[in-house]
Amino acid sequence: MIRSALSAILSHWRRHPLQLATLMAGLALATGLWSAVQAINGEARASYARAAEQLGTTAADRLAPEGGTITLQQYASLRRSGWQLTPVLEGTVRFKRQSFDIMGIDLLSHPLVPALAEAAEQDSVPALDALLPPGRFFAHPETARMLAAAQSEHPITETDRLPPGVLIADISLASRLLRQPDSLSYLLILPDQVSGLTPLQHLAPGLIRIPARSAAADTARLTDSFHLNLTAFGLLSFAVGLFIVQGTISLSLEQRRGMIRTLRGLGVPMRVLVVLLAAELAVVALISGTAGLAGGYLVAAALLPDVQATLAGLYGAAVDGSLGLRLEWVLSGLAMACSGTFLAGAQALYDLWRMPLLAAPAPQARGQQAIRSHKAAACAGALCILAGIAIIALFQGLLAGFVFLSGLMLGAALVLPLLIATGLRIGARLSTRPFTEWLWADTRAQLPGMSLALMALLLALATNIGVGTMVSSFRLTFIGWLDQRLAAEVYVTAVSDQQGTRLTQWLEDQGITVLPIRRSEIRYKGAPLRVYGVADDETYRLNWPLLEALPGVWDRVAAGEALLVNEQFARRHDLSPGLSLALAPDWELTIAGIYSDYGNPNGQVITSLAALLDREPDIPNRQFGLRLPAEDVPEIVSSIREVFEIPRENIVDQAGIKARSLSIFDRTFTITSALNLLTLGVAGFAMLTSLLTLWSQRLPQLAPVWAMGLSRRQLAGAEILRSLLLAAFTAVLALPLGLVLAWALLAVINVEAFGWKLPMHLFPGDWLRLILLALLAAAVAAALPARRLSRLDPAELLKVFANER
């Protein structure tokens, strides 16, 4: 019995191969885009975990200062009290304009020592060589190659047991290069401690103990928002793909209602039929899911380099270049495909389950039934939107932002059919010609079959408008910000401090204003914080991009009594002008202003150069911004190179930096644009599949009008017109939704994810282009069914009247 019933059920696909292809393609697309995002996220997270493990930060708790650094005296005192601690000094060193993160460790006690000793041994270097002058670096082969090109003073041992992007050195070398002879970033608390020691909070009340797991997850935590953004995009693509799947499954089950009724009449229990249909869906899901995984892997491999650039640019997080094939990724992808399929088919299977034995094979809901279902969906949609608004009003944070967006998007999608039906009804009322009257009414009749595809199109268009507006607003703001921030005409990096001093003198003799760029790096509440010292100059007063400031802000900074903080640091620590900030236990300054600082993952503060040098006289003096008339730039640049033999790459003019910054910016959003386009592509495909699967149901509606004297060509034209009409309605409704989405991304998600709030700009030209693209997609989607209709054999239409269908 089961074999015969299965054979009858499967015979449907022989008659409808296109429907099967559509179902599988929809599922593969949904799984593919979701899996691509998951592969990227998985690879990045694995990289962070590997890096943390390789740096030995997963096994031990950290003892970090609330602000500033730990002194050697504090360290020595803790050691004397019996605690087994190992010091770490972190910072950034520059060789030939290239920056490297350096981690100085005690090469006798740090957990990394065995791995480094093994690497040294393989390199045939004595284990203690790194402790002797000039000092040795340990680095990942990729980083070692870059370092070797940038400096030759210190030998390098390559080891792939270290993550890329970081140099390990003995703490003495690190403190020399960082010019922090008496500073430590944090202390690792080694696992084996004797009992009965005085608790650390008593010995060092100014230091915070950070648990190992949380310390190791620094990068992961910092980049969480980025990965959450990607996941949201993946989920959106998955949902858009599921619209195709849902439509196709519903149609295939509806077309088989007659067959199922017959099988039941022949004695096959409904339970068996439902199990067989579910098994059929499971097999389709597994095959399509596998195809989707293969596609997702390729998409992920193609997008990974841009993701690496984004993560490095925004967060300074290094991700390995290769994409691994993980078992959990494969299994979770297949699980998503199966669960998505059953979610999409649940309603249709349930309806089938409840179908009375003698029920006639009913066509899809139309007429009054359709209106009722539109109203019910719209009510559910309104509830979703209200729930989203309630969440954002009551809660804060990234998750609340995403819940708001989900409620808004889902709600809008559910309200869409009723809005379009209302628009079509108004259109029908306004039309006076019989053809247009029929077209409006017929379009409304087709709405139930098209509504899922239109919802997918709405989501894709709104996302494109929203994300596009966000990126373009960001770009516009970023360009304006660059103009303000990069006020100096030329930026020069001297090869040494001595050269820096000579260069300053020489430039001042030429009548050029020199703005030294000097900074120190401390830690604030466990995270790195850069402290810049600036000279009191009109350039800053006129150009610096301040978001909020106290009166007389620059006078206060120049007097050394106040500082400026960047926006992300202020948001992270809930700081505002007027509050004070302790950079070290004995160095507390008033916050006089907050400035925008896009693209920087870390906290940054600015104070007077004199105040900074008072505390840290040894900080490097190699970087300078030069103010001079733009027309003098080429001459001065060439003079500097001639007089000081500074390499070409150490002198950059303003335009060069801006171009480089914009190129980094654009690359950062490559993945966003790619996912945007893919989502729109999936929505276009959803329209095509809906039109194709509805094709067989269309003939009974078209044949009478054809018999009344509309030619097949006119009907084909009407098909395209109908598709354009629906896409245009959807696009018009997608516009306000997209703008709300843009607002939420700029004012809520961006603030949580990156720490900066951006003004919203409007780009009507972009919207028009996008709407035209949607109309083009709709016309292309309708072109195939229209072509088929224009060439259809009249005998096919006549079958409608002969009741042979």
């Binding site: 139309r366 007429g367 009054q368 010609r433 019989p434 053809f435 009257e437 029929w438 009414a441 017929d442 409304r444 009749a445 009974p700 509606q701 044949a703 009478p704 009008v705 054809w706 018999a707 009344m708 004297g709 509309l710 030619s711 097949r712 060509r713 006119q714 009249p794 005998a795 239409l797 006549l798 409608v800 009247f801 002969a802 009741n803």
Partner: protein, 218 residues
């Protein structure tokens, strides 16, 4: 003559001239007269009706509707002819589900620019559809839907009305009432009626009767 069919043949793919669905059929139908075409299933009745309605193309022979030769017409011209001069009533009613009854009745006449509201009013009244004009087809019974289909066909004031088993979906009583009404209205409109039926009783209500067997008239 409103309809002239001369020696028409029609075959479908896979059929030989000997097994063609129509083999040299000829008939004439004058304005204001009615003809019933009977025959067994598969005898070619519906095919002949479709050819007479310029819905399908024949292999050889000629069909003229109100003096227009169909063999010379292109698809667009055949559509224009249907829009102007030919109406159809089918067993399945084939109303437009998305249009109200009012719109369904006027649709064909308006497409052919022949809508006469007064005549429409008469038809609605005579067909007993007055209270149903704002409903949709799915809200009507089978008998009511068939009356709407007849109203739609006659609203055009066609020269030729084609009906394929127009009461095939109705019970005997409803069938007889609908036929009486249709014949009455056809006479008033002056159209020629070409009707396909299995029913001898219905065939007996028309002026002429022709029997089709194996693709030929007997």
């Amino acid at each position: 003559m409103v309809l002239k069919i001369r020696n028409v043949t029609k075959s479908y793919p896979g059929q030989t001239p000997e097994t063609a669905v129509l083999r040299g059929v000829s008939l004439d139908l004058a304005a204001g007269s009615s003809l019933a075409l009977t025959g067994d299933s598969g005898s070619g009745k519906s095919t002949l009706l479709h050819l007479a309605g310029a819905l399908d193309q024949f292999d050889s022979g000629e069909i003229e509707i109100a003096g227009t030769r169909l063999s010379k017409l292109r698809d667009r011209q055949r559509a224009a002819l249907r829009r102007r001069d030919v109406s159809l009533v089918f067993q399945q009613f084939n109303l437009i589900p998305s249009l109200r009854i009012r719109q369904n009745i006027s649709l064909h006449a308006r497409l052919g620019n022949r809508w006469d509201p007064d005549w429409g009013h008469v038809l609605v009244d005579r067909l007993g559809l007055t209270g149903l004009l704002d409903r949709y087809p799915e809200q009507l019974s089978g008998g009511q839907q068939q009356r709407v289909a007849i109203g739609r066909a006659l609203a055009l004031r066609p020269k030729l009305l084609l009906a394929d088993e127009p009461t095939g979906n109705l019970d005997e009583t409803a069938s007889s009432a609908v036929m009486d009404l249709m014949l009455e209205l056809v006479r008033e409109s002056g159209a020629a009626l070409f009707l396909v039926t299995h029913s001898n009783a219905i065939a007996g209500m028309l002026d002429q009767r022709l029997h089709l067997q194996l693709g030929q008239t007997v």
